[in-house]
Each structure stands twice: as C-alpha cells, then as structure tokens.
Symmetry: C2
Subunit: 480 residues, 2 copies
C-alpha cells in the first residue's frame, strides 16, 4: 500500500479539485491527452509549456490519496475524467477504482484495456477484489483468478458468494492471530517481526490449533499489562462474533451500539475466517442511507452527474412509469364523477387539496413506522397502540385542518354544505392515510420486503385515488 | 466505566427485548412498580413470586450493555419504560441517557428527581455531559457545574458552545500525549503505568512542551518498531488536523475517505485540545442520514413511537400547514379556469396526471443535485452542463411519456386536439421541473441553506400549480 498522504483540512479536497480543473483548462490539455492519436503533431502540444503543465498535473495527482483522486474523477466531465485517469500511476488504479461510485467506475473500466484491468486487480486484496468483481468483464476476472494463489482464489470465491447486504460482503481476510498459552512479551516480539500490522488492528484474535476463536487480546490490554502475563489471563472471551450470513445492517448497529473498531467473523463451527473493520461499516452505513434517499427520490441507483442523457433516463424510467400508472388510475377515478363536476365545477378546484394533504400525512406515518421497523421496535402489542394513536392524530388533524379549509370553502363558494363535505372528506382521507400508513410497511416487512422502498409510492397512490373518490363521492351524494 | 457485556449475536438485542416484555407482562409488574404509592398492600404484589420476577428482571438488566437498555427503553410504552428505568442501577443512568433518542430521553428526565439527575450527570465525561446538557433542567446543570473541577468546568463550557454540526460537538478530551525525544521503550513503560488507555486509542499524540501537536505515533508503529528507536524517528507528521469549528459533515467525509479511527483537534494556534473518534463519527453519520429522511418524510424530528397524540401532532403540523398552503394555491390556479372545466370536464380528470408526473420528475432531479452539492462536486461550468442534460431528459420524457398519455387521451376522449394539448402540457411541465429542479437546490446552497430541506416541497408546489396552469391554459387557448 502506498503511504497515505492526508489532506491538511477536510475542505482541501475541494481545493485540489479546483487546482486540477484549472490545470486542465490550460492549453487544450484534455484534447491532447485523450485524443492523442488523432491529433497532428502540433507545435503547441509539443511545447515545453504544455509538457510542464502535464508534469504539474501528474505531480499533483501522485501526491493525492486514492480516495481524493476518486472524488476528483467523479466531479469531472467524461473527457477531463479520462485525461486525469491516464495520468494516474498504473499501480494505483485498483485502489482508486475501489473508491469511485459504481456508475463512474463503469466509465473508467470501459476505457481500460483488459490487460490494464488485470494488472490493476492484482494490486488488491481478495476482499477488495470481490467488491470490484461485479463490474469487471468476464475475461478480466478469468485472468485475475488464474493469477491468484489457491488459498486466495478460495477466499475470492467465498467473498463473491455473499449477498451485498450480508456481513460476508464486508469481510476482510487480513488479520493477526495468536495462541493463548504465550506471554504478552512473546506477543510483542511476534508483532515486531511482522514489520507492519493490518489496518485497524485494535485487537489480536486468540485461536486454538484448529483456528477456533477463543477470545481477543485488545491492543490496549497488551500495552498496559505486565509482559510476563499470559494471553489466556488477560484476553477477553465475551466477544461479539459475527457470521458471514448475518445481516450487514445488524452488524452495523452492533458496531454503533458497542463502539467497535473490529469484530471477528466465524463460520458455523466457530472457526475464525475473517473480520469486519469499522471503515467498511462506515462506508456501508453511508451507502445504505444514500440508497434509501435515492429510492425515495425515485432514482434506481446513484447517478454519475456527467452520465449520458440515455443512462440517466434509464435510471429514472421505472419510477416515472409507476407514477404514470397510479396517476392514470386516479384520473379514471375522477372520470367516474364527470357528471358531478360538470354540475359543480368547484369540485375540480377543491379535490387536489383533499388528495394532497392525505398523501402528506400518510407519508409522515410511513416514515415513522419504517424507522421503528428498521430498529425492530414494533411488536404485535405496540402495533395496535400505534394504529390507535395514528387514527387519533388523523381525527385531530381532520377536524382542525379540515375545519379551516372547510370554512375557507364556505366563504369562497358561499356554500355551507360544500364546506362540510370538504371537512368530512379531508378527515376521512386522513383516516385512510393513517390506516394504510401503518398497514403497508407492516405488511411489506411481514412479507420479507424492505418497507422503505415503494411504501411511499403506494400510500400516495391510495390517498390520491382514495381522496378523489371520497370527496367526489360525498359531493355527489349530498350536493349534486 | 462498567465492563462492556456484548451480546452474542446482533439479533439478540431483540431477544432481550422480548424476554423483558414477557417478564413485564407477568403479575401486574408494571403497575406495582410505577404506581407503588397508590397501590394497597395487596398480597399478590407482596408475594414471593412477584419478588422473584422483579429480581429476574433486575438481573437481566444488569447484564445488558447500556446501549441495549436504551434500545429496550425506546421500544417500551411509557408505563413499562418507567418501570424498567426504575430497576436500572443508579450508576448507569448517565450512560443510558446518552444512548436513548431525544424524545425518549425527555420522558425519562421528566420522571427523575433533580438530585438523581445530578448524580447521573456526575458519572459522565465532560464531552458526554455536553451532549446531555440541552435536555437537562437549569437547576440540574447548575448543580453539575458546581460539582466539577475547574478544568473540566472549562471543557464543559467550551464543548457546550459548539454548534451541533461542528467538529467541536464531536470532541473527546480523553487522550494520551507524549514527547518526541523519548524512545519507544519509554513510551511502552509509560503506557503500562496508565493501567487503562482511553477507548479507541489507535494513535498517541506527540506534542511539545506547550502542547502544540507535532505528529502522531500510531500504536501499530509502536508495536512493530525496535523499542530503542526514538519517537521523533518513527512518528507520522503528515496528519489530518481538525479544528473545533470545522463542519462535522466534512470531518465525517475525511474519516470515510482516509479510513481513520481517531483524528486530533487543534485550536487556531495548532495546540492540541482534543480528538474525534470513529464511534462519534459513525453516530453522527447515522443521525444525519436519519434526520434527512425524517425531514423528507415531513417530520420535524425523531418521534418516540409511544409519544402522546399531542406530541406527535406538534411534530407534524409544520409540514402539513406548508402543504395546505401550497395545495390551496394550486386550488386557486384551477379556480381561474373553472369556465373551461365547465365546458370540457375531461380537463378535471386529466390535470392531476400533468402535475403528478412533473412533481415526480422534479424530485428525481433534486435528489441528484442535492447529493452532488453535498459532495461539493458542482462547479459553475458543470452546473451549465447539468442543466442542459436535465432539459434534454425532460424533453425526451415529455415526448415519450407525454406521447403515450396523449394517445390514451385521444382514444379515451376521441379528441386529437385534447391528446396534443396533454402531450404539450406534460412536456412543458417536465421542462419546468428540470429547470427548477436544478435551480432551487443551487440557489438554496448559494444562500447558505441546506438544500436537502424544503427543496422537495418547493418543487412539488411549483409543478402542481405550474402543471395545472400550463395544462388548463393550453386547453383554454386551443380547445374551449
């Protein structure tokens, strides 16, 4: 691993970006770099000034941490991105590919030769390789597999077999193990012989001859205890043990709850097979939160901001199509009452208020229930209490907000009855929102689906069509 | 600090919850515990069986990690929550209060005597105390201040002065410092004398006589190097230094990017004043993500699922009121065109499709822009490219989806012109959505406001009112 060169302040990665952009703007640097072959041997391109700019850019890039280069690549349009990518030292390709977002990685991989990709992949650990593998062409993966020693080939195969939401996908195979019958002095001497410890070594795993995990020796314990003491006397045996099939989200909660830096992963027999480190957990938590937000916003996945129109459109069509269908259904519900609207056109102006408030309120309920479900805090008994509470809130909101809008309606359209219908419709639609706001996520969770995805679309569809039906139906009964 | 008892598997906190709920259900345990004073000395309550259940519950709680008790408290209805709270050992109150969510903490604090609260606060470090302070009554905070030694009183005052989004709010004062002119052997002996190191000690801070930070000695470096070497020869000097005023979000990104476990905090003169640990960062990232989601869902803050109806209503009214105003405006826009709708009632049924798709598409654009803004990846040049791209996507979607709906409209209402108006209105509204979807978050960010909050409400308001206006306006021009 190259030495980590950290930036002096958290802001400075944005300064790096600006400096690199300024260098790229100079002297057609991008064209000369990306379209090398096509360019005639123009004097300017070959000039000393130009060469100096390229060298300056190269130096700048060499001094940056791989994660910072990834950040810069993501923020650059395709041409400039590839120009910078060309200047990155070949030995660092792999690490940087690990750090960039999926869609940006695809643009880089598409631009690389298979041989370059194999070389980049070979600089990585097996657990890192497993993260990269889904985006690599088959021929590259075959080359990579063949180049690996047998043990690592097995590790890669097992790492690739885990679901991305499982602890196995976060597994790191790089760990230090010791026996429990030695003294701390011996441990210290053993570590000194290693020359370098794996990143995030906050504890050393204590195993028996058959690699079964017996406990852990925290480095802090090692440091503060008398070197003559035996590992068995000071090691911690009450340790959180993960298995590869555990849910990553639950492991992340455990890291948060118990303030862990690393945790061992054991197989079903208790044999130590790897570990999870807090940096993988932090990435996982951030990514999971981002995915939730993207899905709530109606995007299928993260978007390269410089993606082609076509790539962006594909990322967004699913939700637009779903929305179109639900909007069409709502439209047909209104169509049922065209006669009533023709007779009392005020209904057309008022109906979106009923559906809109219902949707808003339903989404509030869903947000709360989804969070509680994610934390596993809802039991059968509390579900009933929650529903009762949500219904009480809906009634209160219906009477208050529905009442206010009802009075407005009366004044605006000079009809007491229309105002009353408005209040009644709003209250009923809020009740529908409360009912389905509790019901939909609980049902999805019971069916083993993620209640965060789709619940919002469903509740909005129900409160739209339902709101129109309730309001126009009541109006038809009492007004027309 | 009490010994950390970690659970055997990440699921098991939910098992603990179920066991505790089962114990609470037995023999009116809750009533007897919470309403002690009011209860007559009923035989049942005094019975051995009852006493045994209380003891069992107590043992169960004593064995749990503070974070797990917090989890259980959050998942219990108020009465049972307070019953369990009563059984928690007094010395652990403080730690548990730190772990529970704000609204649940308020229910616990409201139930405690001032003296109990002062005692609980006194078990905490100053940085932890600063997190708890905003929720404590003034008289309690005065008591706490008086009980603190002068140095810690200053630390508490400074920790409380930072904005909750600043690095200062994540600061931990508990750190080990050394000088650079000693050998590693001396460092090892010094650490051994400390008996216990602060949590998350992955590096030891190297300072001069005046406490200025000169570098860090990673524990791993300490372990693998020859004990005769001097600190100055092996320490790392190229270190990320945070200041208390740095934004917590940027510090979190640095932790993620550089895979840090701790980072030093220095004052403006470079003097070491504290550190940030990865567990605080992980909590921050999780909370920030959760707050975003709550705000997108229209909740002001996290909600205690067992909060009173009144508390929940207050948490939700702001957004409902905003939504009501925007819905009312949209309704008035429709009101402008009542004559047209009276003449062609199909308009009433079709208009929600135009507004709905516009809102959906606008929210997709906003989600993408807000993410890119949060990462600081949008420059002036890329903003123009982004806008062009979004407009191209809007045109494509307008032609395709607008075309499909246009054909449906033609077939349904047997009017080619109405179909064309529908397609044109959808395309125009999608353009409005793209324009404002880029413009709103960029403007908010320029004004120094968080573009994640409110952008979604604004774009929906614009595409609703705008969609109605465009569709009904075009229909009035060409059809009526």
């Amino acid at each position: 691993m190259p030495e980590i060169r950290e930036s002096a302040a958290p802001e400075s990665v944005q300064e790096h970006l600006r400096e690199i952009q300024a260098l790229l703007d100079k002297q057609q640097l991008v064209e000369s770099l990306v379209h090398k072959q096509e360019m005639p041997r123009h004097e300017l391109v070959e000039s000393l000034v130009h060469k100096q700019h390229v060298a300056e850019l190269q130096n700048k890039l060499d001094a940056l941490h791989p994660a910072d280069i990834a950040y810069v690549l993501e923020a650059l349009p395709i041409d400039e991105r590839l120009a910078v990518w060309d200047l990155v030292k070949a030995g660092r390709d792999g690490e940087i590919l690990l750090e960039v977002s999926d869609p940006v990685r695809d643009t880089l991989i598409a631009y690389m030769e298979p041989a370059e990709l194999v070389a980049a992949a070979e600089t990585l650990d097996t657990d890192e390789l497993a993260d990269l593998a889904p985006g690599l062409p088959d021929e590259v993966m075959q080359g990579v597999f063949q180049a690996l020693p047998v043990e690592e080939r097995e590790q890669l195969r097992s790492a690739m077999s885990y679901d991305e939401d499982a602890v196995g996908a976060l597994m790191d195979f790089d760990l230090v193990t010791i026996r429990d019958d030695i003294t701390l002095e011996v441990v210290l001497r053993y570590l000194r012989r290693l020359e370098e410890l794996p990143d995030h070594t906050d504890q050393i795993f204590v195993v028996d001859r058959a690699e079964y995990l017996k406990g852990v020796l925290p480095v802090n314990t090692l440091l503060v205890n008398d070197p003559d003491r035996r590992v068995a006397d000071v090691m911690k045996t009450d340790v959180l043990r993960l298995t590869p099939a555990d849910k990553a989200a639950e492991a992340a909660q455990a890291f948060e709850r118990y303030d862990l830096v690393t945790a061992p992963i054991v197989d079903d027999n208790g044999k130590l097979i790897g570990r999870v480190t807090v940096d993988a957990v932090l990435d996982y938590v951030r990514e999971a939160a981002e995915n939730d937000r993207l899905k709530l916003g109606g995007l299928r996945q993260e978007e390269d901001i410089f993606a082609s129109v076509w790539a962006s459109v594909r990322n967004r069509w699913t939700w637009l199509a779903v929305n179109l269908v639900t909007a069409f259904i709502a439209s047909r519900v209104i169509g049922l009452f065209e006669d009533s609207i023709e007779k009392l056109v005020a209904l057309a102006a008022l109906m979106p208020i009923v559906s809109g408030i219902g949707g808003n309120s339903g989404n509030q309920t869903i947000t709360m229930i989804v969070r509680a479900l994610a934390l596993g805090q809802i039991s059968q008994a509390s579900a009933r209490a929650l529903l009762t509470k949500e219904i009480a809130i809906a009634l209160l909101n219906g009477v208050v907000w529905g009442g206010i809008i009802g009075v407005f309606t009366m004044l605006l359209y000079r009809s007491v009855l229309l105002g009353l219908v408005m209040t009644a419709a709003m209250t009923l639609n809020l009740l529908v929102a409360a009912l389905f706001g509790v019901f939909i996520p609980m049902l999805m969770s019971k069916l083993g689906r993620d209640p965060a995805v789709g619940s919002s679309v469903l509740i909005t569809a129900i409160t739209d069509s339902g709101g129109f039906f309730i309001f126009l139906g009541l109006a038809t009964l009492f007004l027309v």
